[in-house]
Amino acid sequence: MTYPLWLIPALPLAGFLVNGLVALIAGWQRAAGRTAAWREAHPDAGHGDHGHAPHGGGHGHDDPAGHGHDSHGAHGHGPSVPALPYWQRLFHGVVGVGATGLSCVLALGVVVPFVRESLASENGLPAVVETAYRWMSAGPYVLDIAFRLDALSALMLSFVTFVGTLIHLYSVGYMQDEEGFGRFFAYLNLFMFSMLTLVMANSLPVLFIGWEGVGLCSYLLIGYYYDKDFAAAAGKKAFVTNRVGDFGMVLGIFGIFALFGTADFSFVDMARHGAMNGHAPLSVYAVCLLLFLGACGKSAQVPLYVWLPDAMAGPTPVSALIHAATMVTAGVYLVARCSAVFVLAPDALTVVAWVGAATAIFAASIGLAQNDIKKVLAYSTVSQLGYMFLACGVGAFGAGMFHVFTHAFFKACLFLGSGSVIMAMHHEQDMRAMGGLRPKIPQTYWTMMIATVAIAGIPPLAGFFSKDQILGAAFGAGHPGLFAVGLVTAGMTAFYMFRLARMTFFGTFRGSKEAEGHIHESPATMTVPLWVLAAGALGLGFLGVPEVLGGSNTFMRFLAPSLAASHPHEVSIATEYLLMGMSVAVAAAGILVAWRWYGAAGATPQVPSVQADAFYRGTGPLGPIVANKWNVDEGIEALVLEPFRKIGTALWRGFDALVIDGVINASAFLVELTGDLARFFTTGNVRNYILTLTLGVLTFTLYVWIR
């Protein structure tokens, strides 16, 4: 059976090209039209070179800058900005959604039989590798653009394309009033292409193409509202932070190559079969840590998490797709993919586990006090990613991937729900200005509540199963400390999620009367994806029901061939029940506290009041610090950026400008002087040219003759 694997990423790429080109050309035409219109409106502007810039007229209706006047919210949304004509939106939408949708159909068409056959066979199917193109060859080493289908990539493939398609569909509704509609879909398709390349790659270099590609798209989409300073800055922040991780990633790839002599995933099998026995453990340890540094950057782990909350400056579907469901899990995927190498360096795994745990609890604690609905979800995402790394760190790669899978559904659902809320609120993101939205947007309410319950870890929803397996693995692997952190985090998660629900949907509306009148439910293109995702959050946990609850854990069985063998936990059945009970109890406690604290009237002050809310009152002196995100951004500024700036300035002034530039400029001057003299050999007289030719022959004749 041959799989058309390369078609799966190729379709979104085609979509990107088509949408991008059409949007580009249409954009030029529009810009030209606007300029012409402006010229007509300002005949006195005349020659245009001097005098006033185009904005100088100050007429809102033909101001090319467009999103000029919007008090807050992620994007300018003035009624003055002309949305694209209907047919144009239809075109971009059909191409964008169609490309991803087709890709999804293809992917499922490949994955479903693969899963079926794999589960039917004893040890799973071997990986299918399809080479699309020979990229380069250097001596014995060849590097192909090859795609791989095995359990791990099949898993990623299925939910990336599926969730991706739903979010594309959602975007058609969400982005309908945006001028950059075509550009948005082009970027989104480019992202899908990169992400699919990442998960289907058969070698680290190809994976790295996808890795950088998703980073690029993330940057482009965070800065989608590029005329907003904070969006542009957030994009830059994401990019720079990711560079730090990529530095480790690249070195890690080199390290893998040095260790195994190849960078395609055959090294996983080599590692599994003990090819590393002769190598110094230290080098394996170093390579693992370098790869993990890359994963930290992409998956927003401490201390490289700072970009992810800021990434919420992008449109909400982007937050859902890239910064919650897919791209940020790439780090977990990388660690799981290289799990066979990681298990050779147990110390590195311990680092992974503790970094994950620290991220989980730290981000959750910040999430407790956020008032921006998307920021809460962002910190929640960071925290959940920490969970996933925690799982990998204790050797439970399967559990980690399971959480990746379930998280993709409920977090995407939450983000899209929040998008629906934001849209209903006319781009108001502050929860203090919400409240009582339940009857006004019932579909959003119901779907979000399902996802909230799921993430809080209430059985039998998806989040319960995946989170419980992580906690069980942490305990079983003999890390009670990690278990405790995870447990506390679970409680915090339940708290901030229900705080969000309570502030948004219950109580009374705290915004202005005018805003209240405009609240409306979102169109079907947005609610349908919500319901599908909610269904996933509701039911997908049953794929991985542990044996102690009478399931057969199909999920783990399917994934096992791709991962390093994890040791069975020596935990008694009674202990397992106890652990489950504890996690449910903690979650319930979190819910209860949230419900109590935010149920009272006046618990939530209105915007823009600075009056402390219930959280401040409940936590004492810690409250303000937590609300300010533990002052991490300020700390980085003072401890890292400022010293570097000072050193940089010193080097620039002292060393660069004087020494380096001096040397360079002097030699450049000399070379140029030589050139100025040498050019006079070309005298312009053809006789001289014949002479140089003759002299050349003479010289060479003498040379040959003397030899």
């Binding site: 070379v671 140029e672 050019r679 050999f681 030719l693 002299l695 022959v697 060479f700 040959v704 003759w705």
Partner: protein, 486 residues
Amino acid sequence: MTLNLTSADLAAVGPEIVLSVFGLLLVLLDAFARPLRPAFPYVALAGLFGANWAGHYLGGTFFSKAIEASDLTRFVDLAAISAATLAVLGGAALLERDRKNQGEFYALLLWSTAGLTLMVKGSDLLVVFIGLEMMSFGLYVLAAWYRETAESVESAMKYFLVGAVASAFLLFGVATVYGRVGSTNLIAIREAALGHSLLLDPLLSAGLLAIVAALSFKIALVPFHSWAPDVYQGMTTPAVTFLSTAPKAAAMVVMVRILGALAPNGLGDPWQPLLGILAVASILFGNIVALSQRDVKRMLAYSGIAQMGYAAIALATFNSDAFEGLLVFLAGYILTNAAAFLSSAVLSAGEKEAHSLSDLAGMGRRRPFAATILSLSMVSLAGFPPTVGFIGKFLVFRSAIAAGLMPLALVGILGSLISVGFYFRVIYYLWMKEPGHEVEIPEEDPLAGAAYVLVAAGILLLGVMPRPLLEIARAAAASVSFGPLR
């Protein structure tokens, strides 16, 4: 001595036949259907496509061993046809604007191309000579195309006179080789060379030297380069697009073939250093003088001298690795240099072509496409990844280092460093400098647009995915057998 002409013989010169016939057709069309002049570029393109289509001939020797067809000649056919195509695409609008779009321009271009491919196919030095002259005669006339302008005829005169001297030297060399070996046929010469160590003969060496000098003149290697800047500057840009690319590449290939025939066991002592000196002198002189040029076309001329210096490194290395690298380099050079000239042609306003760098100032915003192509070609000429210019240079330097010619590679790298100065100055002027004076902006032109797409795709795609190019270059390189690798 019997006439035994088969269809394979004719097929082997298929491209030349098609080109010649279309050239004649263009001359006739110009005489009898003058109103059709705007359509002539398309006729010429049809001829070039036809020639490309006719390029699927068999390998082997034809016409009583007068020519030898192989993957190598197919490679050069394709390269020359591409260069001519780009010249037509990029130049049509300019010629039409200046009312210089007579059919003869395209006819001469096609005939010149035919001569070029014939020269490379020639396995008899007589055929090589005829091909070379055919190519040159066309270019002499094209150089004088704007015959009312003093610069144009001056460049033609210079090119012609120095070229004629070079031809005489070439003939002297051919005569000497003929006399000492007894044949003008490269195949026979190679057989003789395998049996006798020919290059020890002083007279034969002198003859070979004359041949090398004459071909170096066509390639414009220092010290046989001096015509190039003047000719480039005075010649109309569409013609320079062709002149500065394909003939140089073809002369390089012919040089390799002749040296390969005379020195089948590898180049000996005086020859390898000699070619090395040519390379070093060209790289240093070309790059350094290019740095002090303010005229775009003169700058490109000196840059071309330096580029051919890099290519001469491969010549000095003289093994099949180096030849492969040389072919890749030449293909990249043709694409890139043609891109540079045709985009600067589009950025110029007719007879008042863009001459000085300051004419280019601010063009990035006014003509973004042409400026982008020019910038891209500068990056590629400077040898930066991910462009095809990088690949070729890399292969050439690598093979030189592998053959133990580290100093040559180092000079090449030094030259590349210097070259960044003037290549990037163009980019600086295009995008970051405000226009100092009013420059006439020419109209948009669909043919040039097609050329942009072609060259941009070529430069970038082959830079990112060089494998197809590497493969045909490898096949082509296999057509010349070199001495044992050192």
